[in-house]
Symmetry: C2
Subunit: 305 residues, 2 copies
Amino acid sequence: MSVVVVGTVAFDTVETPFGKRENILGGSATYFSTSASFFTDVSLVAVAGDDFPDEHITFLKSRSIDTSGLQRIPGATFRWEGKYGYDLNDAQTLDTRLNVLSEFRPDLPDSYRDAEYLFLANIDPDLQLEVLGQMRSPKLVACDTMNFWISSKIDALKEVLKRVDIAVINEAEARQFTSEPNLIKAASNIISLGCKRLVIKRGEYGALMVTPDSVFATPAYPLEDVFDPTGAGDTFAGGFMGYLANTGNSDEASVRQAIIFGSVMASFNVEDFSLDRMKRLDYREIERRYKLFKTLTHFEDIGAL
Amino acid sequence: MSVVVVGTVAFDTVETPFGKRENILGGSATYFSTSASFFTDVSLVAVAGDDFPDEHITFLKSRSIDTSGLQRIPGATFRWEGKYGYDLNDAQTLDTRLNVLSEFRPDLPDSYRDAEYLFLANIDPDLQLEVLGQMRSPKLVACDTMNFWISSKIDALKEVLKRVDIAVINEAEARQFTSEPNLIKAASNIISLGCKRLVIKRGEYGALMVTPDSVFATPAYPLEDVFDPTGAGDTFAGGFMGYLANTGNSDEASVRQAIIFGSVMASFNVEDFSLDRMKRLDYREIERRYKLFKTLTHFEDIGAL
């Protein structure tokens, strides 16, 4: 089944202790759709300026991503500039230029509106609601957000949470959203707003999923070489939703396995700048790492006490 | 089989966002031995001043802990004062008074010296070496350390690492020890010094175990109520070593299961100040939480792609 993602395409300028790259391909919809494309059909909705080169669109199409929902507007594409220190956990944003993103009014191609899976990447929650209104009867909707919307548009964001099945946010955002330092309490508070499942991304520490009656926790895949964490969260979400759309299931066991596939995809993405690792990734590598992930976390009862 | 632990007994003054307690029972050997006592026989080596009340010794004995190695010296018992913020991950040390600890020269009772399991809790690495020299033929030795010894006694500490089977340290210490921000590389560097296994404690994020040919990662048990993280690391180590001593095994599968039991024990300990939660813990609760831990981390292959 096919997934629609609404988010951004961007030019990123990223500095990590391992190098600096300027004006590289980025954006939540880009990372999400590329990651999901390893599992299912993806249709992308975003806006780009007239400076967005054909090569990036050619790349997305090479992953069989439907780009008919990518609007082109005169002007400059959204730009983000950030820097990471040695711990690589938090980006320091040096510059954000919305450019054409400030004029973005998502208008889904008619062929998208019957899709069963929808991912609302981190954009203005009012636009997330507009997109929700354009979909005819999505089977599973997930959303992301960011600190900026939590502080500036909390009411619209709460409305989004009421209408999605799964929220996928990071740990600091969960705490900020609820002013609650304890993550399990923060998660319960967010779930009480209406979304059925909350997936909390913890960067190099893995992910946590909370529902009204279960908790699932997994570490991240440990890596020797982490070059650039940019896009890891969207890549995680892409693997997660892509896997769910592929299987058509959304029971607890399927969603848990989806989290592992999301983690695997994110672990590849951080191994190089931009989408460079994804560009040279093949599905056998994903399968191999999934198996290693199982070995990594496996323990069994070997002795009753 | 029985475990010998060498470490501290202490009076702690601890402030967390949930309250402040003065002069409560603390110390690495106290936390370790209490936790291990749920799994096996424990013999404690530490030093206390003449201000150390009988009630604490009575408590240790009530857990069947052999306290014949607890030296009593005229003077004041070691004191630590610390404060935690809302994230509860890092203690800010407000005051440390070594008191009688500065005169500590471990001298193991003869009955301890044939023990098969030894845990060298965080004390001066020169003393850890002295204790190692007093043991006749321990089957499994593990050690902890802290930032202070990494910066002040790195050579003695490297000698300790050469002579132990398992090092159990925290994440920041692993990075500090090797000046390597990537945790997997840091772990490999430490293992290359000679210890066979490195267990890295990551607080609320769980634990990671690295050997020359395997990596194991587990999240921590997620809790709604964390009151005081003091002693969590030693409680983890106590459950870990206690389980291994109970089973007599130290193969990969046993050590993985020991990490889970260590995590379970630590999850109880942080639910109250000092050893208050451990004092009212019974083994059925440990078994129940171990089972919940399995559910928490379990995922299975449900659909090939």
